[in-house]
Every structure is written in C-alpha cells, then in structure tokens.
Amino acid sequence: MLGCARLAILQQLEYRFNLIADTVIQPVIVGLVELTLWAAFFHSTGNQTLNGFSREYYLSYAVWAAFVSRISTSWMYESMMIEDIENGTVNSILVRPISFYEYYLGQFFGYKVFTTLLSLGAPVAVCLFADLPLVISRLPLTLGLVFFYLLLVHTMSVAIASLGFFFSRIHHITVAKNITLWMLTGELFPLDLAPEPFRSILIALPFSSAVYRPVGYLTGRLELNTITEGFLSISLGLLVATVVATALWNAGRRRYSGTGA
C-alpha cells in the first residue's frame, strides 16, 4: 500500500503544472465562485443572518467546502480505474500479487494526503486574513472524517469501474455520480438549509460526511456529535458499498476476456 502511495506522489511530481492546477487553481476558482454566490445572496436580500448563522459563517463554509470537496471527490482515480478495465491495462495488476482495490486505494490515499498537505495553507490563510469563523483545533478530526469517507468513495469507485467489465464505455456514470454528490455532500449549500424531510435524509446519508459535516464542524456551525454520527453513517455506507463492489467485481472478472493484449 505504501509503495502504491509513493507511486502516486512520484507520478504527481512528474507533472508540476498539472499538480498546481489541481491543488491550487481548481479549489481557488471553486472557492471564489461560491464566495461570490453567498456574498451576492446576502447583499441582495439585505439579511445579516440565514438560519441563525451570520454571513461570515457562510463565507467560511464556502471557502472550506471548496477545499474539502476537492479532497472528498474522486474524478481522476475513478476514471483511471475505468480506463484500465476498458482497455485491458488492468492485466498488469491482475498478474501481480496485489488486489485492484488495494493497488488503487494506496495510490488514491497517497495522492489525497500529498495534495491536501500542499493546499491546506490556502483556506487557513483566507480565513485568518478575512477573519472568518474557523476552529483550527478541530482540523485533525475534520480531516480524519474526510479521509475515512474516502474509503467509501474508493469502494464506490471500484463498484463503478467494475461495470467496465460489462459495458464498453461508462465514463459518464462518473460524471452523473459526481454531479449527484455535488448536492448530496453539501458542497452546493449547507444541508441544514434544505426543507424537511429532505434535510434529515440528506444529513443521515453518508455523503454528508464529505463536506457538510466536516466543514460545519470546522467552522463552528456543528458540534462533535456530528463527527461521531458521520463515522457511523460512513461505516454503514461502506458495508453496503463493499457488498456491491465485491459482487460486481467478481461477476465482472468472470466475464472479462483480457482485452487489449
């Protein structure tokens, strides 16, 4: 696993411009878009609070949502897994004493830890500079929850990639999944703003641990219980995803004809 994590870091370092675009440019642009939206909302309504929280809470939420969602979303590795199965590159993993799950999990975590450390300074600096709400002592637990959530993300990615054994082209499933998660995670807006019963459902789902729970906790909007509930909810989601991913992988392997070699 550590060897695979190292592989991911080596590969990232090989392409410096791409790495900067991924770790700095992309979250900065997303953050600016969300900041503008919230600033425009408060400016046009003339309100100083929304749902009991001030404008600053929402601006801080926007900054951290952009940063945390970059960690908790899987575009690149899911696409790589799909491509490997579609074009037969998976052969080079299947013939070696390492599982596909483990091989990509190592790389995925290596990449996420490395890029998180590289880009963490930016949102902290913005919050300190603009005096936005931030409880810095909560950062380790926040990141702990997000990285635990990555296990679920990865397992879902393996399940989706396994569909590549059955269908020739499935890239758009990743697009559809990530757009759905954009709303379900709370990246778009804090989930407690949704009307009931959607509010309770959205918060209960494990996906709220991708953005809403960690960012709410870090910015002081939510308390410790949200994190413990988050771990529990992810564990249940992980159980379901593991069953689905294992079934799809095993069935897919039986069909696989070793494409491309």
Partner: protein
Amino acid sequence: MHPDVTREVTIETTGLSRSYETYKKPEGLLKSIEGFWKRETIQKVAVHPTTLTVYRGQIVGLVGSNGAGKTTLLKLLSGLIYPSAGTTKVLGYDPHERRPEFLRRVSILLGQKAQLWWDLAPADSYELLAKIYEIDSAVARSRVRELADLLACTEQLHVQLRRLSLGERMKMEIIGALLHRPEVLFLDEPTIGLDIIAQTKIREFLGEYVKVERPTVILTSHYMDDISLLADRLMLISHGKIVYDGTVEAFTAKSELRQTLSLKLVHPPMQDVTLRHDFKISAGTRSVRFEMPAQWIADVLGELMALSPVYDIKIEEVEFEDVIRSFMEQDARLRAAGHSPTA
C-alpha cells in the same frame, strides 16, 4: 525432451475452454439506432476444450495465426481470465483464483501491452515491484543490475519509460517480469515490432536466461526464430484447438517434408516444357529451381536429365520457418473460407 526437464508436472489442464459473447455491430445509422434496444449476440469459442501437461523446465513454443487462441490460452494459464469450462492447475494452483503465493511464482510478459508505469523511470517501477513481490530492496536492486547488464540497458534505468524506444522498453519489461525469479514464465510475443538487432539481443538473452534459471516457459511468437531457437516443445494451435504437440524436429519430419531442387541445364530447351507434377520450364531457361515433396525429387530429376545434361545440382531441406508459415497460411485460408471459430 530437454535433459534438464524433469517429469514434475507444472501445468496441467483438463478440458480447459473459453468462449465469450460479443455482438454484431450493424452498419449504418438506422441499424445503429435499432441496435440501441436490439442487439444480436454471437458466442465465440476462443479455446476449445484443451487437455495438456507441461513439465517443469520445459520451454513450449505456442504457434498459430492471429486469432487462433494463443494469447487466450496464455491468459487462462496465467489466471488473467476465467475459463468457461474445464480445470487448470499451474504449480498446483487454480490460476484464476489469483492467490498471492501463486502470483509470486509466475510472470506474464505481454509484448503488446506495457506493464511498467509509463510516467516513471524503470528504476522506480522496479522498486514498487519489489514491494509488491515482497523482495528485499537491496536484493531487488542487485537483480536489476544483473539483468540490465545482460540486456545492455543500464543507461536507460533512470529514464522515464515513455521516453524510451520500443526495444529499450521491451528490455525494461523483461527485467520487470523476471525480477522475482518466476518459476513459470508466460511470454506473449516478446519480440513483436522490434528491429532485427533488438530481436536478436532479446532472443539471445532469453536463451541464456532459460539455460541458467530453468523456468518453465510458454512462449508465443510470430517470429519462428524465437520458437526454433528457444523452444524444446512445439504446440500448434488452430481455431482454438491444439493441432500439434511435439518437438520442433518431429513436426518438421511429420509435416509433408518438402525439399528444394535447383540445378542448371547444359542445353536450355528450345520451347516451353511441362514436366510431371505440372512443373514448367520456359524456352531458353538455364537455371531451374522447384520446391516439392521429397518423394517427387527422383522423378523430376530423372525427367530433367532426360531433357538435357545437368550440373550444379542442389537439394535443400525447407526451413522450419517455411513449414510453419505454410501451416499458418493454410490455417488463414481455412479461416477465410468460413471455418471460423464461431460456435
């Protein structure tokens, strides 16, 4: 059988077969739209029930035309794909179960597919492979040095794989495949697309390697030199069936032994002549060269000598490569005539 080959069974299959489903891609826009809800599927048999035994230390050359089932058989034996029916044991394991203890003892090199990491220098890839195969890093480094010296590619170990030439890349792939000293080695077209110098180098290296390390090898190649120089057992596969299994020498002997008769006529004929078995000589021709089954030689030579005194007579055996080529051409003709492996 090679003197170093023991009677210990390394690979054993019983009724091993593989078929897969594909669909007919219709032509044109309307048919493509129709294909959105209605697709005609076809069952293709890539490997018909195959029973074979390979002993420890044997080097088996697997030969067949494109689509004959060579690579599918290799993928079945290495555990890359599941069989549709039958059983396989390689070193006592079911390959498709992919047990780590099995995978640590075998290796497959796919000549048409890079298995090292494209963005990394081979040295970094080997370091990762050492971790995957649980090899001590100092031992792995020394093994890499040893193999790189033999392949004369030490200079390229620290160059990103994507920047290497095809021949250099193949050498790197070979090092990666041999790093963990596999007991069973599946080589699928290891010299494909390489220039003659690179081909020779890799062939020489593999020849030396198998002599020293004595792995069990199954080798597919389109270059008959690879087979005739490396293999001590030949398997011919056609339409997913093993149609010949024996030594290279026995195959050449068993095949309709063809010879080439060449000679010069002292008095070239004044007009076109047709000999027995429909061999033709044009008027004024002095040098004659015919390829024919060995048993015809005496008849044809007798006729030619009756026509004119002859000199510079040569009778040559046809090369192994030519015999295989003739087999593969015949196989391709059968395929074109509709004897497809479709079940």
